[in-house]
Amino acid sequence: MMTVNEFETMVYTRPDSLTDVSTHYCPGCTHGTAHRLIAEVIDEMGLKERTIGVASVGCSVFAYNYFDTDFVQAPHGRAPAMATGVKRVYPDRMVFTYQGDGDLASIGMAEIVHAAARGENITVFFLNNTNYGMTGGQMAPTTLPGQVTTSSPNGRDVETQGYPIRTAEMLAKLDGASYVVRRSLHDPKNIRLAKKAIRTALEVQMRGLGFSLVELLSICPTNWGKTPAEALQWLEEKMVTYYPVGDYKVHPAAAEIKF
């Protein structure tokens, strides 16, 4: 721990892998939490100088402004394909994508399924906040039945607008996927569990064990029309019920990882 003066000890600092800038994220948004967890793990694993991140389209399009690592930015939904291109050229680098639910589970469904099916040795951080945040809160594939969004103004009607997709469960069915889990960012305990999963996912990649994905249940107070506290409560009550936190695929080799 860094000593500030003889009476004080620094116990909480910005991770080296985050740049020293304010983010454009809304107050209360859990993107900040997710960024920090990933950066802490990159620091702990000493990967800062070996990391190439892939930003997606959505609120996290500017993730490259916040991670102090090399970064590229993908077209909407294509981050797993772009990550594949980077990783195949640099197999010993840590390559991760950071994608939202509109990006990954709608327009990018083909790319994520096939990256997982190939056992592509990349890590995907999948932020699920049940709506398209960047464009102002439209219905996403993850929007809950009955949930009001700007494009489901009467609540998502499953008769005409279909059912939400449980992405982690679906990808876990693929033989190529080695580590697929869902965590939530709604309270300190779950945030600690999320960090552990992020660490495991990156350990899976750095040991060459194949495709890893951590779905992170997140909030969008602005588009949900809730305070951050209300939003966290809604996540716990509504989202965790529909999208249970859990380990959906843990390859035996991944289960043995100790850190």
């Binding site: 930003a55 291109g85 790319e111």
Partner: protein
């Protein structure tokens, strides 16, 4: 080097390998699939990257990722596949990355057919994807030229941080011809200052095509356009045949240019003073050459396997200074040498006019089906 009998698509693939191709990403589509098949064997045996993508959309974005590292990367496709790649091509152009695209054209629109065509000239030459950008486009007329231009494509892509397309077609991709392959180049070991690799001992780098500040995005656009002016000034390539004393000029690119050469030779044998201009770079287009030519010939004939797409560039270059006629075959039908000769004779016989549009005159004299 000994000459080898090779299929166009395989020759292009081996030429790319010898030019130092580090990563190939593709998807099967006729009539280019042999390139993918060839590289699925060749790249792994050399320890280089090969992925058969789930779609052309994924393939071009794998190319995008690999191109961000500054390695030599390529994909190949045709018609519908090239359409699917347009988003990625625009992003790659917007991020100023080098890459090589092999476009083996087939009959369209829609699913069309797998016969040779030149109807994707506008799609590639005029940019295809959204935004202001110009790919460099090279048009081979033989297997040998496909090999040579593929190697050149990698050099130009790096020199101008640009998308470079080799605009071939189903006939050149499928035919077998003797060709001499280039020597195997060593793989690149140093990479440009913009390339990502992991920020080891240096400031981090990021590559993106987004810039929400319009003034800065405008600046980037100006940079692209000024670079394009350099390309226009330095990289125009074309071949001319029998033009020294020609009173008439045929203009055709790629395989139609090659058919036109047969017709021009036949016409010369009959004493007709006709020559041929065959653009090698259809982008940048040899506009100055045609402009100068328009002041000394009596008439021009444009031949294409489309409804007059390059014709528009010829008309812009010659701006009404010379009568221009057009003849084309559509939907995967090739122009035959006899047809080209007949059109040369029609041109020479006249009457010649600069009134109206050559496409309308061609359509009017083409029997309605």
């Amino acid at each position: 080097m000994a000459r080898e009998l090779m299929k166009g698509n395989e020759a292009v693939a081996e030429a790319a390998v010898r030019a130092g191709l580090a990563a190939y990403f593709g998807y099967p589509i006729t009539p280019q699939t042999e390139s993918l098949e060839y590289l699925s064997r060749r790249m792994p045996e050399l320890g280089r990257a090969f992925v058969q993508a789930e779609s052309e959309v994924a393939a071009i974005n794998m190319v995008y990722g690999a191109a961000c590292t500054g390695h030599r990367v390529m994909t190949s496709s045709s018609g519908p596949g090239i359409s699917l790649m347009q988003e990625g091509l625009s992003f790659i152009a917007g991020t100023e990355l080098p890459m090589v695209l092999i476009d083996v054209q087939r009959g369209g629109p829609g699913l069309g057919n797998i016969a040779p065509s030149q109807a994707d000239y506008n799609q590639i030459v005029k940019g295809g994807g959204h935004g202001d950008y110009h790919p460099i486009v090279l048009a081979p007329a033989s297997v040998q030229e496909s090999v040579d231009l593929t190697v050149l494509a990698f050099d130009l892509a790096e020199k101008y941080r640009s998308v470079v397309a080799v605009l071939s077609d189903g006939s050149i991709g499928q035919m077998m011809e003797p060709c001499e392959l280039p020597p195997m180049q060593p793989m690149k070991t140093s990479f440009p200052e913009w390339a990502v690799s992991g920020a080891k001992g240096r400031e981090r780098r990021y590559l993106t095509s987004i810039n929400l500040n319009p003034a800065m995005q405008e600046e980037m656009n100006f940079r692209l356009m000024r670079r394009w002016q350099e390309v226009e000034a330095n990289e125009v390539r074309y071949k001319e045949y029998y033009m020294d004393d020609a009173k008439f000029a045929v203009v055709g690119f790629g395989s139609t240019g090659r058919v036109a050469l047969s017709a021009v030779r036949a016409a010369r044998a009959e004493g007709i003073p006709v020559g041929l201009i065959r653009p090698i770079t259809v982008s940048p287009f040899p506009s100055k050459v045609l402009e100068e030519l328009s002041r000394r010939v009596e008439g021009m004939l444009v031949l294409e396997m489309n409804a007059g797409q390059m014709l528009e560039d010829v008309l812009i270059a010659t701006h009404g200074q010379v009568p221009v006629e057009f003849y084309g075959r559509l939907g995967g039908v090739c122009v035959l040498p006899e047809e080209a000769l007949r059109e040369i004779k029609r041109l020479v016989k006249g009457p010649l006019s600069t009134e109206g549009h050559p496409r309308d005159r061609w359509l009017n004299r083409t029997a309605k089906n």
